[in-house]
Protein backbone atom coordinates (compact mmCIF):
# COMPACT_ATOMS: atom_id res chain seq x y z
CA UNK A 1 0.00 0.00 0.00
CA UNK A 2 1.12 3.55 0.43
CA UNK A 3 3.45 3.21 3.35
CA UNK A 4 7.08 2.33 3.91
CA UNK A 5 8.61 2.78 0.50
CA UNK A 6 6.36 0.20 -1.13
CA UNK A 7 5.68 0.79 -4.77
CA UNK A 8 2.44 2.66 -5.37
CA UNK A 9 0.12 1.23 -7.98
CA UNK A 10 -1.79 4.47 -8.07
CA UNK A 11 0.25 7.66 -7.99
CA UNK A 12 0.27 9.81 -4.86
CA UNK A 13 -1.50 13.14 -4.61
CA UNK A 14 -0.12 16.24 -2.95
CA UNK A 15 -3.38 17.51 -1.43
CA UNK A 16 -6.80 15.96 -1.44
CA UNK A 17 -8.81 12.96 -0.33
CA UNK A 18 -8.09 9.26 -0.71
CA UNK A 19 -10.89 6.73 -0.34
CA UNK A 20 -9.27 3.39 0.27
CA UNK A 21 -10.55 -0.14 0.92
CA UNK A 22 -13.59 0.20 -1.27
CA UNK A 23 -14.86 -3.24 -2.37
CA UNK A 24 -14.11 -3.44 -6.10
CA UNK A 25 -17.76 -4.13 -6.93
CA UNK A 26 -18.81 -0.87 -5.27
CA UNK A 27 -16.41 1.50 -6.99
CA UNK A 28 -18.82 2.85 -9.57
CA UNK A 29 -21.53 3.28 -6.95
CA UNK A 30 -19.17 5.38 -4.84
CA UNK A 31 -18.26 7.48 -7.88
CA UNK A 32 -21.92 8.02 -8.52
CA UNK A 33 -22.81 8.83 -4.88
CA UNK A 34 -20.11 11.50 -4.71
CA UNK A 35 -21.02 12.86 -8.12
CA UNK A 36 -17.41 12.57 -9.27
CA UNK A 37 -18.44 12.31 -12.90
CA UNK A 38 -19.03 16.04 -12.93
CA UNK A 39 -16.04 16.99 -10.79
CA UNK A 40 -13.28 18.79 -12.67
CA UNK A 41 -10.46 17.93 -10.27
CA UNK A 42 -7.66 15.53 -11.11
CA UNK A 43 -8.77 12.05 -10.09
CA UNK A 44 -7.45 8.52 -10.20
CA UNK A 45 -9.54 5.42 -9.82
CA UNK A 46 -7.97 2.05 -9.27
CA UNK A 47 -9.75 -1.25 -9.11
CA UNK A 48 -8.85 -4.90 -8.64
CA UNK A 49 -5.84 -3.84 -6.58
CA UNK A 50 -4.50 -6.47 -4.19
CA UNK A 51 -5.74 -6.12 -0.65
CA UNK A 52 -4.99 -8.24 2.40
CA UNK A 53 -8.35 -7.30 3.86
CA UNK A 54 -10.64 -7.63 0.85
CA UNK A 55 -8.70 -9.71 -1.66
CA UNK A 56 -9.41 -7.15 -4.33
CA UNK A 57 -10.09 -3.53 -3.56
CA UNK A 58 -10.71 -0.26 -5.27
CA UNK A 59 -9.30 3.15 -4.49
CA UNK A 60 -10.25 6.71 -5.36
CA UNK A 61 -7.92 9.70 -5.15
CA UNK A 62 -9.31 13.17 -5.66
CA UNK A 63 -6.77 15.99 -5.75
CA UNK A 64 -7.54 19.28 -4.00
CA UNK A 65 -10.94 18.21 -2.81
CA UNK A 66 -12.03 17.86 0.81
CA UNK A 67 -15.52 16.50 1.29
CA UNK A 68 -18.06 17.66 3.86
CA UNK A 69 -18.80 15.11 6.58
CA UNK A 70 -22.41 14.73 5.44
CA UNK A 71 -21.29 14.19 1.86
CA UNK A 72 -18.62 11.60 2.55
CA UNK A 73 -20.81 9.68 5.02
CA UNK A 74 -23.17 8.74 2.18
CA UNK A 75 -20.41 6.42 0.96
CA UNK A 76 -21.11 4.27 4.04
CA UNK A 77 -24.28 3.05 2.30
CA UNK A 78 -22.29 0.99 -0.20
CA UNK A 79 -18.82 0.77 1.34
CA UNK A 80 -19.17 1.03 5.13
CA UNK A 81 -15.58 -0.10 5.76
CA UNK A 82 -13.91 2.32 3.36
CA UNK A 83 -11.07 4.37 4.86
CA UNK A 84 -10.91 8.07 4.22
CA UNK A 85 -7.49 9.73 4.30
CA UNK A 86 -7.04 13.46 4.09
CA UNK A 87 -3.77 14.31 2.39
CA UNK A 88 -1.85 17.54 2.76
CA UNK A 89 1.59 17.92 1.25
CA UNK A 90 1.81 14.16 0.53
CA UNK A 91 1.16 13.30 4.20
CA UNK A 92 -1.94 11.70 5.70
CA UNK A 93 -3.04 14.39 8.13
CA UNK A 94 -6.40 12.90 9.08
CA UNK A 95 -8.15 9.53 8.90
CA UNK A 96 -11.91 9.41 8.94
CA UNK A 97 -14.23 6.57 9.80
CA UNK A 98 -17.55 6.54 7.98
CA UNK A 99 -20.87 6.73 9.81
CA UNK A 100 -24.12 5.84 8.10
CA UNK A 101 -26.25 9.01 8.22
CA UNK A 102 -29.61 8.83 10.05
CA UNK A 103 -31.40 10.26 7.04
CA UNK A 104 -30.75 9.79 3.35
CA UNK A 105 -32.24 12.15 0.78
CA UNK A 106 -32.00 11.18 -2.86
CA UNK A 107 -29.12 8.89 -3.99
CA UNK A 108 -31.00 5.64 -3.34
CA UNK A 109 -33.99 4.19 -5.15
CA UNK A 110 -36.80 2.65 -3.07
CA UNK A 111 -36.92 -1.12 -3.67
CA UNK A 112 -40.72 -1.22 -3.53
CA UNK A 113 -41.97 -1.15 -7.14
CA UNK A 114 -45.33 0.19 -5.92
CA UNK A 115 -43.74 3.14 -4.11
CA UNK A 116 -44.86 6.52 -5.44
CA UNK A 117 -41.22 7.65 -5.76
CA UNK A 118 -40.72 5.09 -8.53
CA UNK A 119 -43.58 6.53 -10.58
CA UNK A 120 -43.50 10.30 -10.08
CA UNK A 121 -40.62 12.80 -10.11
CA UNK A 122 -40.09 12.75 -6.34
CA UNK A 123 -36.82 12.87 -4.40
CA UNK A 124 -36.55 9.75 -2.25
CA UNK A 125 -36.16 10.07 1.50
CA UNK A 126 -35.18 7.37 4.00
CA UNK A 127 -34.32 6.92 7.64
CA UNK A 128 -31.68 4.31 8.39
CA UNK A 129 -32.20 1.46 10.85
CA UNK A 130 -30.45 -1.78 11.63
CA UNK A 131 -32.17 -5.14 11.70
CA UNK A 132 -29.94 -8.00 12.88
CA UNK A 133 -26.95 -5.77 12.04
CA UNK A 134 -28.03 -5.36 8.39
CA UNK A 135 -28.60 -1.81 7.30
CA UNK A 136 -32.20 -1.05 6.28
CA UNK A 137 -33.49 2.10 4.67
CA UNK A 138 -37.01 2.93 5.78
CA UNK A 139 -38.88 4.83 3.06
CA UNK A 140 -40.49 8.05 4.27
CA UNK A 141 -43.25 7.63 1.66
CA UNK A 142 -44.28 3.97 1.33
CA UNK A 143 -42.97 2.99 4.82
CA UNK A 144 -41.29 -0.14 3.43
CA UNK A 145 -37.69 -1.12 4.11
CA UNK A 146 -35.00 -1.37 1.46
CA UNK A 147 -32.19 -3.62 2.61
CA UNK A 148 -28.61 -2.63 1.89
CA UNK A 149 -28.08 -5.82 -0.18
CA UNK A 150 -30.45 -4.68 -2.92
CA UNK A 151 -29.62 -1.02 -2.83
CA UNK A 152 -29.90 0.75 -6.16
CA UNK A 153 -28.20 4.08 -6.64
CA UNK A 154 -30.02 6.70 -8.65
CA UNK A 155 -27.71 7.77 -11.44
CA UNK A 156 -28.27 11.30 -12.51
CA UNK A 157 -28.17 12.06 -16.20
Amino acid sequence: MEKGGKELKVSAIKNGTVLDHIPTSQLFKVISILGLKDCGNQMTFGMNLDSKLLGKKAIIKVADRFFEETEINKVALVAPDAKINIIRDFEVVEKKVLHVPDEITGIVKCANPKCITNHQPITTKFTTTYEDSTLKLHCHYCEKNTSSDNLKIITEN
Partner: protein, 301 residues
Protein backbone atom coordinates in the same frame (compact mmCIF):
# COMPACT_ATOMS: atom_id res chain seq x y z
CA UNK B 1 -47.75 22.38 6.78
CA UNK B 2 -51.30 21.74 8.07
CA UNK B 3 -51.93 18.62 10.16
CA UNK B 4 -52.81 15.61 8.01
CA UNK B 5 -53.69 11.98 8.77
CA UNK B 6 -51.61 9.76 6.51
CA UNK B 7 -50.45 6.95 8.76
CA UNK B 8 -51.75 5.77 12.12
CA UNK B 9 -48.35 6.84 13.53
CA UNK B 10 -49.29 10.47 12.84
CA UNK B 11 -51.65 10.39 15.85
CA UNK B 12 -50.43 10.15 19.41
CA UNK B 13 -52.36 7.96 21.85
CA UNK B 14 -53.98 11.12 23.25
CA UNK B 15 -55.05 12.30 19.81
CA UNK B 16 -56.56 8.89 19.04
CA UNK B 17 -58.58 8.95 22.25
CA UNK B 18 -59.66 12.52 21.60
CA UNK B 19 -60.91 11.67 18.10
CA UNK B 20 -62.78 8.65 19.49
CA UNK B 21 -64.50 10.89 22.04
CA UNK B 22 -65.46 13.36 19.33
CA UNK B 23 -66.82 10.49 17.21
CA UNK B 24 -68.95 9.36 20.15
CA UNK B 25 -70.40 12.85 20.39
CA UNK B 26 -71.23 12.77 16.66
CA UNK B 27 -72.93 9.41 17.05
CA UNK B 28 -75.16 10.87 19.79
CA UNK B 29 -75.85 14.04 17.86
CA UNK B 30 -75.60 13.29 14.16
CA UNK B 31 -76.62 16.68 12.83
CA UNK B 32 -73.88 19.23 13.45
CA UNK B 33 -73.36 21.36 10.37
CA UNK B 34 -70.09 22.85 11.58
CA UNK B 35 -68.61 22.92 8.09
CA UNK B 36 -71.48 24.58 6.19
CA UNK B 37 -69.07 26.99 4.47
CA UNK B 38 -66.42 24.38 3.62
CA UNK B 39 -65.63 22.33 0.51
CA UNK B 40 -64.05 18.88 0.77
CA UNK B 41 -62.48 17.01 -2.13
CA UNK B 42 -62.61 13.22 -2.38
CA UNK B 43 -59.95 12.22 -4.89
CA UNK B 44 -60.21 8.50 -5.63
CA UNK B 45 -57.47 7.50 -8.06
CA UNK B 46 -58.59 3.93 -7.46
CA UNK B 47 -62.23 2.89 -7.06
CA UNK B 48 -63.58 2.18 -3.58
CA UNK B 49 -67.30 2.39 -3.02
CA UNK B 50 -67.44 1.85 0.72
CA UNK B 51 -64.71 4.20 1.84
CA UNK B 52 -65.70 6.96 -0.56
CA UNK B 53 -69.39 6.85 0.39
CA UNK B 54 -68.45 6.84 4.06
CA UNK B 55 -66.24 9.92 3.70
CA UNK B 56 -68.82 11.70 1.54
CA UNK B 57 -71.58 10.92 4.02
CA UNK B 58 -69.40 12.20 6.86
CA UNK B 59 -68.68 15.42 4.92
CA UNK B 60 -72.34 15.92 4.08
CA UNK B 61 -73.45 15.32 7.66
CA UNK B 62 -71.04 18.05 8.74
CA UNK B 63 -72.67 20.38 6.23
CA UNK B 64 -69.69 20.59 3.85
CA UNK B 65 -69.97 20.45 0.05
CA UNK B 66 -68.13 17.62 -1.66
CA UNK B 67 -66.31 17.66 -5.00
CA UNK B 68 -64.07 15.00 -6.50
CA UNK B 69 -63.82 11.94 -8.68
CA UNK B 70 -64.21 8.23 -8.12
CA UNK B 71 -61.95 7.02 -10.91
CA UNK B 72 -58.87 8.73 -12.33
CA UNK B 73 -59.78 7.51 -15.83
CA UNK B 74 -61.60 10.63 -16.97
CA UNK B 75 -59.38 13.26 -15.32
CA UNK B 76 -56.18 15.08 -16.35
CA UNK B 77 -54.27 12.25 -14.71
CA UNK B 78 -54.94 10.22 -17.84
CA UNK B 79 -53.38 13.09 -19.83
CA UNK B 80 -50.18 12.62 -17.84
CA UNK B 81 -50.61 15.27 -15.16
CA UNK B 82 -48.33 14.64 -12.19
CA UNK B 83 -49.82 13.95 -8.76
CA UNK B 84 -48.13 17.12 -7.54
CA UNK B 85 -49.97 19.30 -10.06
CA UNK B 86 -53.33 17.65 -9.36
CA UNK B 87 -52.93 18.17 -5.62
CA UNK B 88 -51.62 21.76 -5.98
CA UNK B 89 -54.60 22.63 -8.13
CA UNK B 90 -57.21 20.97 -5.92
CA UNK B 91 -55.79 22.41 -2.71
CA UNK B 92 -56.46 25.87 -4.09
CA UNK B 93 -60.14 24.95 -4.44
CA UNK B 94 -60.96 23.16 -1.22
CA UNK B 95 -60.45 23.12 2.56
CA UNK B 96 -59.52 19.45 2.95
CA UNK B 97 -58.56 16.57 0.67
CA UNK B 98 -59.53 12.93 1.14
CA UNK B 99 -57.50 10.76 -1.17
CA UNK B 100 -57.10 7.14 -2.20
CA UNK B 101 -54.30 6.09 -4.53
CA UNK B 102 -53.04 2.70 -5.75
CA UNK B 103 -49.39 3.63 -5.16
CA UNK B 104 -47.82 3.45 -1.70
CA UNK B 105 -46.62 6.73 -0.24
CA UNK B 106 -48.84 8.80 -2.56
CA UNK B 107 -50.81 10.27 0.33
CA UNK B 108 -47.69 11.26 2.28
CA UNK B 109 -46.35 13.01 -0.80
CA UNK B 110 -49.70 14.74 -1.39
CA UNK B 111 -49.68 16.04 2.19
CA UNK B 112 -46.27 17.60 1.52
CA UNK B 113 -47.40 19.52 -1.55
CA UNK B 114 -50.93 20.40 -0.40
CA UNK B 115 -51.74 23.62 1.41
CA UNK B 116 -54.72 21.99 3.18
CA UNK B 117 -55.01 18.87 5.39
CA UNK B 118 -54.95 15.51 3.61
CA UNK B 119 -56.63 12.34 4.87
CA UNK B 120 -55.26 9.10 3.48
CA UNK B 121 -58.17 6.87 2.47
CA UNK B 122 -55.78 4.08 1.47
CA UNK B 123 -52.46 4.08 -0.41
CA UNK B 124 -51.93 0.67 -1.97
CA UNK B 125 -51.07 -1.94 0.63
CA UNK B 126 -49.61 0.69 2.97
CA UNK B 127 -51.95 2.62 5.27
CA UNK B 128 -55.64 3.26 5.77
CA UNK B 129 -55.74 5.09 9.11
CA UNK B 130 -59.46 5.98 9.22
CA UNK B 131 -60.19 2.24 9.09
CA UNK B 132 -57.94 1.74 12.10
CA UNK B 133 -59.65 4.56 13.97
CA UNK B 134 -63.09 3.09 13.34
CA UNK B 135 -61.85 -0.32 14.45
CA UNK B 136 -60.62 1.22 17.72
CA UNK B 137 -63.91 3.06 18.12
CA UNK B 138 -65.89 -0.13 17.60
CA UNK B 139 -63.73 -2.14 20.00
CA UNK B 140 -64.19 0.51 22.67
CA UNK B 141 -67.92 0.70 21.99
CA UNK B 142 -68.46 -3.05 22.31
CA UNK B 143 -66.13 -3.71 25.25
CA UNK B 144 -66.42 -0.45 27.15
CA UNK B 145 -62.63 -0.09 27.12
CA UNK B 146 -59.56 -0.33 24.89
CA UNK B 147 -57.15 -1.74 27.47
CA UNK B 148 -56.47 -5.46 28.04
CA UNK B 149 -58.44 -6.66 25.01
CA UNK B 150 -57.94 -10.23 23.87
CA UNK B 151 -58.20 -10.16 20.09
CA UNK B 152 -57.97 -12.94 17.52
CA UNK B 153 -57.02 -11.72 14.04
CA UNK B 154 -58.02 -14.18 11.33
CA UNK B 155 -57.27 -14.59 7.63
CA UNK B 156 -54.81 -12.66 5.52
CA UNK B 157 -52.34 -11.38 8.08
CA UNK B 158 -49.55 -11.04 5.53
CA UNK B 159 -51.00 -8.52 3.10
CA UNK B 160 -53.86 -7.13 5.20
CA UNK B 161 -52.96 -3.55 5.97
CA UNK B 162 -55.91 -3.16 8.36
CA UNK B 163 -54.54 -5.80 10.75
CA UNK B 164 -51.05 -4.29 10.65
CA UNK B 165 -52.27 -0.79 11.48
CA UNK B 166 -54.70 -2.05 14.12
CA UNK B 167 -51.93 -4.05 15.75
CA UNK B 168 -49.77 -0.93 15.96
CA UNK B 169 -52.60 1.23 17.29
CA UNK B 170 -53.63 -1.35 19.92
CA UNK B 171 -50.03 -1.65 21.10
CA UNK B 172 -50.71 1.44 23.25
CA UNK B 173 -53.39 -0.45 25.21
CA UNK B 174 -51.85 -3.66 26.56
CA UNK B 175 -53.57 -6.14 24.21
CA UNK B 176 -53.23 -9.95 23.95
CA UNK B 177 -53.12 -11.20 20.35
CA UNK B 178 -53.89 -14.46 18.60
CA UNK B 179 -52.92 -14.61 14.92
CA UNK B 180 -54.88 -17.18 12.93
CA UNK B 181 -53.63 -17.63 9.37
CA UNK B 182 -52.56 -20.30 6.90
CA UNK B 183 -48.77 -20.64 6.56
CA UNK B 184 -48.81 -18.66 3.30
CA UNK B 185 -50.45 -15.66 4.95
CA UNK B 186 -48.80 -15.48 8.38
CA UNK B 187 -48.13 -12.23 10.22
CA UNK B 188 -44.84 -10.81 8.86
CA UNK B 189 -41.80 -11.03 11.12
CA UNK B 190 -41.37 -7.25 11.40
CA UNK B 191 -44.70 -6.94 13.27
CA UNK B 192 -43.84 -9.85 15.58
CA UNK B 193 -40.50 -8.16 16.29
CA UNK B 194 -42.41 -4.98 17.06
CA UNK B 195 -44.63 -6.79 19.59
CA UNK B 196 -41.69 -8.62 21.15
CA UNK B 197 -39.84 -5.35 21.59
CA UNK B 198 -42.87 -3.94 23.42
CA UNK B 199 -43.39 -7.09 25.50
CA UNK B 200 -46.89 -7.69 24.10
CA UNK B 201 -48.00 -11.37 24.15
CA UNK B 202 -49.20 -13.14 21.01
CA UNK B 203 -49.68 -16.67 19.77
CA UNK B 204 -49.86 -18.00 16.23
CA UNK B 205 -52.14 -20.76 14.98
CA UNK B 206 -53.62 -22.16 11.80
CA UNK B 207 -56.85 -23.31 13.42
CA UNK B 208 -59.85 -21.06 13.90
CA UNK B 209 -61.82 -23.61 15.92
CA UNK B 210 -60.51 -23.74 19.47
CA UNK B 211 -59.43 -20.09 19.33
CA UNK B 212 -62.82 -18.43 19.47
CA UNK B 213 -64.05 -19.05 23.01
CA UNK B 214 -61.51 -16.99 24.92
CA UNK B 215 -61.35 -13.81 22.84
CA UNK B 216 -63.18 -10.50 23.23
CA UNK B 217 -62.84 -9.52 19.57
CA UNK B 218 -62.73 -11.82 16.58
CA UNK B 219 -61.28 -9.73 13.77
CA UNK B 220 -61.99 -11.50 10.47
CA UNK B 221 -60.39 -10.42 7.18
CA UNK B 222 -60.86 -11.28 3.55
CA UNK B 223 -58.11 -12.93 1.57
CA UNK B 224 -57.59 -10.19 -1.02
CA UNK B 225 -57.30 -11.63 -4.48
CA UNK B 226 -55.82 -8.39 -5.83
CA UNK B 227 -52.70 -8.79 -3.65
CA UNK B 228 -51.76 -12.14 -5.20
CA UNK B 229 -49.58 -12.33 -8.27
CA UNK B 230 -49.97 -16.09 -8.53
CA UNK B 231 -53.61 -17.22 -9.02
CA UNK B 232 -52.69 -20.75 -7.87
CA UNK B 233 -51.55 -19.37 -4.51
CA UNK B 234 -54.86 -17.56 -4.14
CA UNK B 235 -56.92 -20.66 -4.96
CA UNK B 236 -55.01 -22.58 -2.30
CA UNK B 237 -55.83 -20.22 0.54
CA UNK B 238 -59.02 -18.38 -0.38
CA UNK B 239 -61.42 -20.65 1.47
CA UNK B 240 -59.27 -21.48 4.46
CA UNK B 241 -61.65 -20.01 7.03
CA UNK B 242 -65.41 -20.13 7.11
CA UNK B 243 -66.97 -18.88 10.32
CA UNK B 244 -70.49 -20.24 10.91
CA UNK B 245 -73.04 -19.63 13.67
CA UNK B 246 -72.55 -23.17 14.99
CA UNK B 247 -68.94 -22.37 15.90
CA UNK B 248 -70.01 -19.59 18.27
CA UNK B 249 -71.82 -21.79 20.83
CA UNK B 250 -69.42 -21.21 23.69
CA UNK B 251 -68.04 -17.81 22.74
CA UNK B 252 -67.89 -15.20 25.52
CA UNK B 253 -71.04 -13.16 25.84
CA UNK B 254 -69.24 -9.88 25.13
CA UNK B 255 -67.42 -11.32 22.10
CA UNK B 256 -67.99 -9.34 18.90
CA UNK B 257 -67.01 -10.20 15.35
CA UNK B 258 -65.50 -7.37 13.31
CA UNK B 259 -64.64 -7.33 9.62
CA UNK B 260 -63.43 -4.41 7.48
CA UNK B 261 -65.79 -5.65 4.70
CA UNK B 262 -66.46 -6.67 1.98
CA UNK B 263 -66.71 -10.26 3.15
CA UNK B 264 -66.94 -13.22 0.81
CA UNK B 265 -66.95 -16.70 2.28
CA UNK B 266 -65.08 -16.14 5.55
CA UNK B 267 -68.25 -15.29 7.50
CA UNK B 268 -71.37 -17.32 6.70
CA UNK B 269 -74.68 -15.47 6.38
CA UNK B 270 -76.10 -17.27 9.43
CA UNK B 271 -73.58 -15.45 11.64
CA UNK B 272 -75.34 -12.16 10.84
CA UNK B 273 -78.26 -13.10 13.09
CA UNK B 274 -76.16 -13.96 16.13
CA UNK B 275 -75.58 -11.34 18.85
CA UNK B 276 -71.86 -11.54 18.07
CA UNK B 277 -72.11 -10.05 14.58
CA UNK B 278 -71.04 -6.39 14.67
CA UNK B 279 -69.50 -5.70 11.24
CA UNK B 280 -72.40 -3.70 9.82
CA UNK B 281 -72.50 -1.48 12.89
CA UNK B 282 -68.72 -1.21 12.55
CA UNK B 283 -69.15 0.14 9.01
CA UNK B 284 -71.74 2.63 10.26
CA UNK B 285 -69.28 3.79 12.93
CA UNK B 286 -66.94 4.68 10.08
CA UNK B 287 -69.11 7.71 9.33
CA UNK B 288 -68.89 9.11 12.89
CA UNK B 289 -65.17 8.47 13.10
CA UNK B 290 -64.55 10.15 9.75
CA UNK B 291 -66.68 13.12 10.84
CA UNK B 292 -64.46 13.35 13.92
CA UNK B 293 -61.22 13.11 11.93
CA UNK B 294 -62.34 15.82 9.48
CA UNK B 295 -63.57 18.14 12.25
CA UNK B 296 -60.38 17.61 14.24
CA UNK B 297 -58.03 18.28 11.31
CA UNK B 298 -59.94 21.43 10.40
CA UNK B 299 -59.61 22.64 13.98
CA UNK B 300 -63.30 22.47 14.93
CA UNK B 301 -63.06 19.78 17.61
Amino acid sequence: MPKSLISIHDFTKEEMLHVLDVAQEFERNKVQTLLHDKVIATLFFEPSTRTRLSFETASNRLGARVIGFSDAGNTSVSKGETLKDTIKMVSNYVDLIVMRHPLEGAARYASEVASVPVINAGDGANQHPSQTMLDLYTIRQTQGRLTDIKINMVGDLKYGRTVHSLLQALSHFNPDFTFTAPDELKMPQEYKDFLNAKGIPFKETRELEGNIDDCDILYMTRVQQERFTDPMEYEKVKNTYNLTASMLGSAKENMKILHPLPRITEIAQDVDDTPHAYYFKQAENGVYVRMAIIAYLLGYK
